[in-house]
């Protein structure tokens, strides 16, 4: 299907089903139940899950295929975001030009950064990319305030020019739209005690994510992708095969920079605001963590890693003491207090602690990331060849 092998087609279909049915899958618990706290099927989080999925997919094209570990990818996301919001302020609130320009600008910026940084390899490359990203962040937060809004960032304002859009009706705020369909538009489906939200912005982002994912499969399976894996495996042999590695790695760098820009543009399309923190080194580190956590070099891994981290950030951080009290209310008082005391450090303001512990557990017990966890579960069901497990996983390029 679509020029993919059977395995890849199956994977693509699974991803399509997961994204299309996400409003159901992410809302497994009925409204008002104690577990509803864990529901993630609301537009903002669903949008973020797929957008950061795109970001991680793109990062994986660079890191997973070539092995070059960029520590500055958030800069491309940020630059894309700024380009998109300026498009919205100056031209139109339609998201299409904003997203296109974000990809283009991020691509140009990554061409510049990549062209310089790829002169070095290994950790020297990582630090070069980090340096560019930190400079972008620092300047955007301070001296570039007239362009970036600095600390308070940029949002569309009522009195922006928007030369392609008509004048706003009184009392209206400018809203991002897709040829008139506003990103915030939602339908809610009520089934018994369940509510499922179908949000226009989410589905637009999801379609872009599916396309991005499809494209990444094609890249992974192409001669170009194979060359990149060859560069990662043995750069010496690449050179002595008459190939210059630099154009390949640079192309991979720019492609992944454009993915980051796409993610940045979509973030603005879904939530019309940009702040410089988006480019801080921790944001670059986050996408590295997403990719490794999910499984670097695998197709689906980065998407899983992105989903995992964003879910933790948005769901666990919102559990507070009164929610705990509700959960354990049925217990006898002493045990209730005891359980709350035990769980409390890990939720709400302690969500970072939980995340840190999970990072360690995953990397200690699942060296190939979450994908390997999935594979192990899969093998439990199959129980066929327990012998060749060890050699596998690490080098298998896909899944």
């Amino acid at each position: 299907m679509f020029g993919l092998t059977k395995r890849d087609s199956t994977l693509l279909i699974i991803v399509i089903l997961l994204t299309v049915l996400a409003p159901f899958i992410l809302n497994p618990f009925p409204e008002g139940s104690a577990m509803a706290q864990f529901n993630a099927g609301y537009p903002d989080l669903m949008q973020r899950l797929v957008i950061f999925g795109i970001f991680a997919i793109g990062f994986n094209i660079l890191f997973g295929l070539t092995g070059y570990l960029s520590f500055g990818h958030a800069a491309f996301l940020g630059v894309g975001s700024y380009a998109a919001i300026w498009m919205m302020k100056l031209l139109t609130m339609n998201v299409v030009p904003a997203i296109i320009i974000s990809v283009v600008v991020a691509g140009l910026f990554s061409l510049l950064v990549g062209w310089i940084s790829l002169r070095r390899s290994g950790i020297y490359f990582s630090i070069l990319t980090l340096a560019f990203a930190q400079m972008s962040y620092s300047l955007a937060y301070s001296v570039l305030t007239p362009i970036t809004g600095g600390e308070t960032g940029l949002q569309p304002k009522v009195d922006d020019p928007r030369i392609l859009d008509g004048a706003l009706a009184a009392g209206q705020t400018p809203r991002a739209n897709f040829f008139g369909l506003e990103m915030g538009t939602s339908y809610e489906l009520e089934l018994g005690n369940w509510i499922f939200t179908f949000n226009a912005g989410y589905y637009i982002a999801a379609i872009v994510m599916i396309l991005a994912f499809y494209l990444s499969i094609r890249i992974f399976r192409s001669p170009f992708g194979m060359m990149l894996r060859a560069v990662k495996s043995n750069q010496q042999r690449v050179n002595y095969t008459g190939l210059n590695a630099k154009p390949y790695t640079l192309a991979a760098f720019v492609i992944s920079g454009m993915y980051a820009g796409l993610a940045g543009g979509l973030l603005v399309a879904m939530d019309t605001q940009v702040g410089a923190e988006r480019m801080f080194w921790t944001a670059s580190g986050e996408v590295v963590l997403m990719t490794i956590l999910g499984g670097a070099g695998t197709l689906i891994g980065p998407v899983l890693g992105a989903g995992f981290i964003k879910y933790m950030e948005n769901i666990v951080s919102k559990i507070n003491k009164s929610v705990l009290e509700q959960w354990f209310a049925f217990m006898p008082d002493g045990i209730e207090d005891f359980l709350i005391a035990i769980v409390y450090p890990f939720i709400g303001k302690g969500w970072h602690l939980t995340l840190g512990i999970l990072f360690m557990l995953v990397v200690i017990f699942l060296p190939g990331g979450l994908v390997e966890g999935g594979q192990r579960i899969g093998r439990l069901f199959k129980r066929k060849k327990p012998s060749d497990d060890a050699a596998d996983g690490k080098t298998t390029p896909a899944e």
Binding site: E31, T145, G153, D159, E190, K349
Partner: protein, 449 residues
């Protein structure tokens, strides 16, 4: 076909029946428009969203804000001793929730990042059905969340935000700020500084290199220069700076005799500690004692800087040692519940919650436009800062501002500042179109749906 911009969850009520495009199943579309505004509470509860920093450097300030919110909710629902509800000049609140609906709340972590703060706020609006969002500990977050609430049709009651921009160039009709701002700090501080240090002074500014720093420097400069001070130099310092030695060291060489630290949070703790370390305060320059000024003080910052704050002037929105009835009532109930006195951030957040609840009661509706109308040009008293006006033109509160200085002999770890002067509101009031606040457009209220 009905569009809801940002919709609410939480309570299920059957709305109009509609067929959603592309779905073959019969679907029950809940039209949010039926109540005319986003997240109209339909059951017997109403949900508020408390969006405070729980991780990152301002986590302790966020924790104090959260304590205040929990206290406010308790009081609104008729629990505890009622706190400031007893001293508040408006008597609309009954202690039976808001408009008879029990107040529930959800919490989130802003991380002091505008992206995270908006994600958290959107989850409160979309998932939890919050009808009002409040909290925050920086102007970046306040401006970002305020813009979101304007778009979503939700009321935003800002927490701690001091930059002029929040009610200046970035003001929004759905957003309200109780906290004071850079301009007020400058206007309140200048006369006290003149009285204590004289009018012939040379000031050296160190300014955090971002919006809040710029507005604060501008405010303090213009009000001190108006009294006759000279500004020798103003140097911008990066937000991420931790060691300020290279900025502090040249101060003495410049011939300045006052150092103004336009820093907040960790920046301020470090720059003040470094300045004292260099022994600046022991020096005589131009035959005057060298002095340091910190335009915006908070108790947590004072705690972080320890003994270094002793005798240093600054301004603050509120302090627990105030002796008016409202402050006393609040300190009493907060102190009884938590065992220590509240911070200014806690005070602002508590007051904002009560003001919102009161506005809803008076308006008789949760509709944001009704709330905006009830809050605009609302005058009240008994909330700790004397007579206060919520100005309709920019949604900024006008009230007395406190000038404080670091206490020489603190009695406890919370007793770090003492009030030097309560600057009357008239002295800190400015025109809505004052140049330091120009470029904004309040717009009109947005009820959402």
């Amino acid at each position: 076909m009905s569009n809801s911009k940002l919709t609410r969850r939480g309570l299920i009520k059957t709305g109009a029946v509609a067929g959603a495009a592309g779905l073959t199943l019969p679907t029950y579309l809940r039209a949010d428009g039926h109540a005319g505004f986003t997240n109209a509470p339909t059951g017997d509860t109403v949900t508020l969203g408390f969006n405070v920093p729980q991780s990152g450097p301002y986590a302790d300030e966020g924790a104090d804000e959260l304590r205040a919110y929990e206290l406010a909710v308790e009081h609104l629902n008729g629990g505890g001793d009622g706190g400031m509800m007893n001293t508040f000049s408006s008597k609309a609140l009954q202690g039976n929730g808001i408009l008879g609906k029990k107040v529930e709340y959800v919490t989130g972590d802003t991380q002091t990042k505008s992206d995270a703060a908006r994600a958290s706020a959107r989850s409160m609006i979309e998932k939890d059905g919050a009808v009002m969002i409040t909290g925050g500990s920086s102007s970046g977050v306040a401006v970002a969340v305020q813009a979101l609430c304007q778009e979503a049709g939700i009321i935003f009651m800002a927490g701690l935000t001091h930059s002029n921009d929040t009610t200046g160039k970035d003001k929004k009709a759905n957003g309200f700020r109780h906290f004071f701002n850079s301009y007020m700090s400058g206007a309140a501080l200048a006369p006290v500084l003149a009285a204590n240090y004289g009018t012939d002074r040379k000031a050296y500014h160190l300014t955090a290199d971002y919006n809040w720093g710029y507005t604060t420097e501008e405010a303090v400069r213009s009000s001190t220069e108006a009294m006759g001070w000279e500004t020798v130099n103003a140097v911008k310092t990066p937000l991420t700076q931790t060691d300020f030695s290279s900025y502090i060291a040249p101060v003495l060489q410049s011939g300045a005799d006052v150092l103004v630290l336009n820093h907040y949070g960790g920046n301020m703790v470090n720059s003040l500690t470094n300045a004292v370390q260099f022994g600046l305060r022991d020096k005589l320059v131009n035959d005057k004692n060298f002095e340091i000024v910190v335009p915006l003080y908070s108790r947590l910052m004072a705690k972080g800087a320890g003994a270094n704050v002793k005798g240093i002037f600054g301004s603050t929105n509120w302090h627990w040692s105030l002796q008016d009835e409202g402050s006393k009532a609040f300190v009493q109930s907060f102190g009884t519940k938590y065992g220590f006195p509240p911070s200014q951030a806690a005070h602002t957040c508590y007051v904002q919650t009560l003001l919102y609840a009161d506005a809803v009661e008076r308006a008789g509706s949760f509709n944001p436009c009704a709330v905006v109308e009830a809050l605009e040009d609302f005058e009240f008293d008994g909330m700790g800062n004397g007579k206060t006006l919520y100005r309709g033109a920019d949604h900024q509160c006008f009230k007395d501002v406190l000038v404080v200085k670091g206490k020489e002999n603190p009695q406890s770890e919370f007793d770090l500042l003492e009030i030097v002067e309560v600057t009357p509101v008239a002295q800190v009031t400015y025109d809505p179109d004052h140049p330091q606040f120009s470029g904004g457009n309040l717009g009109t209220c947005n009820p959402g749906a």
